[in-house]
């Protein structure tokens, strides 16, 4: 165990801290606010120039072009979180790494630069009404006709489809192949004729979700990433990146500090919530969980920086991280008592109603990106080596 970063990294951290102090007035909003808001394009541009966003994306694709150094990326994330300044993004943390890994040169040149600048946004067209956990059973068809694929079918729960410029999409191209081998991964603009996007209201009251219908949608065969029938493997590359993002310990730590603050200034019957032993105990239990997840993150990081698979410590991140976030939101609501149920621009609303919003959204994240039950199956089967559930005929 050595908790000290080497001199090189300490110097790097100083650089990041200085950059943030000098430029934070240019950052939009506040990282502690609602997730999913647009990061200003000029902020993102500035961050890329200094290597604090799209850091490892090669310069020829519009990135900063640094050698991958997981510790440096981590230091950047840590310092932005600590300063509560909105960090940069890497375009789309599911798509860009996938393209870098598996895209053609033309695809990389066409899509990566505008994506990391924040000028081209993406939605993920995977789930279908009948294919959620069992994603590989998806039925949206793409048939080759001359130089085009012709797509027919339906996606659902497509986050951001209404505003996205592009979709990365899974379609069935080889209906006769075994289900995992008949899928292809396509990229196309959302304004392609024949695409119909219908928003779906969520429990939070927002309509970030959509149903997307395809009727004879023509996209060139060059829209494919990887080969025909390899879409499942391409998608798994994407899912791997997405899972890393869900349950991020930095977000949990920031949230924890918000609760501490809340307990220090909210009162009931004139008594600070922090002075209530029961609430304090509950806070401390969450703190221990939060810290375990933080240190678990450091452990994963060390493995990754050595190019090793972290195994179990990594498999549990999505499950435990999303749960922790949900529990923290639940606690904040309880702390606020009656005030905790206010919503929707009501008078007396605390923190803009963020706690109720998070409480619901976090439950959505426990479900989305592979449900908690599927996560547990994977922990059991892949990390603990337990036997798979016997397959049902045809599955």
């Amino acid at each position: 165990m050595d908790l000290e970063y080497s001199e090189e990294y300490q110097a790097f951290r100083q650089e990041v801290v200085r950059f943030i102090a000098d430029h934070r007035h240019l950052a939009p909003g506040n990282v502690a606010r609602r997730p999913g808001e647009d990061v200003g394009i000029s902020w993102q541009k500035l961050l890329i120039e200094h290597g604090y966003a799209a850091r490892t994306v090669p310069a020829e694709y519009g990135g900063f072009g640094a050698e991958p150094d997981i510790l440096k990326s981590h230091i950047i994330a840590e310092e932005f979180a600590r300063a509560k300044v909105r960090p940069g993004h890497s375009g789309d943390n599911r798509l860009v790494p996938t393209l870098l890994e598996l895209g053609t040169e033309a695809q990389k040149k066409q899509f990566i630069p505008p994506t990391i600048r924040g000028e081209m946004s993406w939605c993920q067209g995977y789930s279908e009404p009948g294919s959620g956990s069992d994603l590989a059973s998806l039925g949206t068809r793409a048939e080759v006709d001359g130089d085009d694929f012709v797509i027919n079918g339906q996606k659902i729960w497509t986050s951001g489809a209404k505003t996205a410029d592009m979709m990365f999409c899974l379609v069935r191209t080889e209906p006769d192949a075994p289900k995992h081998q008949g899928i292809s991964y396509l990229l196309f603009p959302m304004d392609t004729p024949g695409i119909d996007v219908r928003p779906l209201l969520q429990m939070t009251g927002d309509a970030h979700f959509n149903e997307v219908f395809f009727t004879d949608v023509r996209v060139p065969t060059s829209s494919i990433v990887g080969k025909r029938g390899e879409g499942w493997f391409v998608a798994n590359a994407t899912l791997k990146h997405e899972r890393g993002g869900l349950g991020d310990p930095h977000a949990a730590e920031a949230r924890f500090h918000e609760i501490v603050e809340l307990m220090q200034h909210e009162t009931v019957d004139g008594m600070r919530l922090m002075d209530h032993a029961v609430y304090r105990d509950r806070l401390l239990k969450l703190q221990a969980r939060m810290l375990s997840m933080k240190f678990n993150g450091m452990r994963v990081l060390t493995h990754s920086s050595r190019g090793e698979e972290a195994g179990l410590p990594r498999w549990i991140v999505k499950l435990m991280g999303c749960e922790l976030n949900h529990q923290m939101a639940a606690m904040a609501i309880d702390l606020l008592g009656e005030l905790g149920i206010l919503y929707d621009a009501s008078p007396y609303l605390r923190d803009g109603g963020i706690w109720q919003h998070r409480y619901m959204l976090d439950l959505g994240l426990i479900i989305g990106g592979g449900t908690a039950q599927i996560q547990k199956n994977m922990i059991g089967e892949r990390a603990l080596g337990l036997p798979k559930e016997p397959k049902v005929e045809g599955a």
Binding site: S137, L200, D269, R282, D334, Y348
Partner: protein
């Protein structure tokens, strides 16, 4: 010993449930919620015909003279169908306060009109449970000033009952000079809670509550039991919907209920919820039958159902996968109703503290 509902109690609950299922399906709940209404006319009048607004009011004053257990059975049915209609404040807490502390003249004046569904009462006692946004209401002579937060059924009420800072209860006209009522928007759009500002308002005291916290306490206890029963009904519905969905939804060529993970989620919900029913019956029964136990059991019912309800709301959503997170099935109406029941009249930690004090442990 016979620990069960009577035939009459079962019939009552059945008839209310049947009425609500017919008259207040989810479509109607949505309609009301979307138009910002928490008072569906045909439901209100149908409940009047069934005698529900007079459920705890004695026959002499036009009610049906039943006990709090029957009121809880009704609350359970209302929660089960997430019915947007005043009940906890207007049909239970208000008449109980008037019965406990009102003069005969006050009882004659108000109770028959409540039972007949002619008047809606809002009830504001939040500051007597935990002051947060208001220092409460002060009394000067017979005039009240201050602010009451989270007045139950307080939006569009005709009359209000509020507690002053000594715990004495007062009736005021909702449109009296000096009263300003504002709607508080909460996650639960089936419930009407208001903030009421009082600026030197003429009030009529319920004399039995002066220098005696008993009436206030039994009003709060009744409210807690009703919210617990509402939560029980809402949770049962979420469990039922989960089981039905798990039997129908297919993934990996099998119904998801055949996965042990999903089966166990459903079994956990059932195992947690079923004992709550007995807890609820006992707590509501002792409210009138064994007054010494009433306050403790009201706290336990309220806090325990809050915990079980929360777990069920979450688990049921999970069983439904992405569908549970959307508005399509309307599952969130139950989710949010359970969230409301949890925080009003005391969040669980605070209510459990009270249970410790009631038992003389602290």
């Amino acid at each position: 010993m016979e620990f069960s509902l009577t035939e009459e109690q079962r019939l009552l609950q059945d008839s209310v449930s049947r009425f609500l299922q017919a008259e207040c399906p989810l479509a109607r709940v949505r309609e009301a919620a979307e138009s910002g209404s928490t008072h569906v006319d045909n439901v209100w009048s149908g409940l009047t015909d069934l005698g529900i607004h007079g459920i705890v009011i004695p026959e002499e004053q036009g009610g049906v003279g039943l006990s709090l257990l029957e009121a809880c059975l009704v609350a359970e049915a209302l929660g089960n169908c997430v019915v947007p209609v005043p009940f906890v404040g207007s049909s239970v807490m208000a008449p109980i306060a008037i019965l406990a502390a009102g003069t005969d003249a006050q009882k004659e004046r108000f109770l028959p009109r409540i039972a007949a569904g002619q008047v809606v009462f809002g009830v504001g006692v939040t500051e007597q449970i935990g002051r947060r946004e208001s220092e409460g209401i002060s009394l000067q002579g017979s005039r009240l000033s201050g602010k009451a937060m989270f007045v139950l059924d307080g939006v569009d009420a005709d009359q209000l009952i509020v507690a002053d800072s000594s715990g004495a209860l007062h009736i005021i006209d909702a449109d009296a000079r000096g009263v300003t009522t504002g709607k508080l928007k909460t996650i639960d759009r089936t419930r009407a809670v208001a903030e009421v500002l009082l600026n030197d308002v003429e009030a009529e005291v319920l004399p039995g509550s002066v220098g005696n916290r008993g009436p206030l306490e039994s009003t709060i206890d009744a409210g807690r039991l009703i919210l617990a029963a509402d939560c029980l009904g809402a949770s049962q519905n979420m469990l039922d919907q989960s089981v039905a969905y798990a039997k129908e939804r297919r993934q990996f060529n099998r119904v998801i209920g055949s996965f042990q993970a999903v089966k166990h989620m459903c079994a956990d919900m059932a195992a947690e919820l079923e004992p709550c029913r007995a807890l609820m019956w006992y707590s509501a029964h002792v409210y009138t039958a064994i007054p010494d136990e009433a306050r403790l059991m009201a706290c336990h019912a309220k806090a325990h159902l809050a915990e079980v309800g929360q777990q069920i709301a979450r688990t049921s959503t999970e069983v439904h996968g992405g569908m549970g997170f959307t508005d399509l099935l309307g599952l969130h109406y139950w989710f949010k109703r359970i969230g409301f029941d949890r925080q009003l009249l005391g969040a669980p930690e605070l209510v459990r503290e009270e249970a410790a004090r009631i038992q003389g442990w602290v």
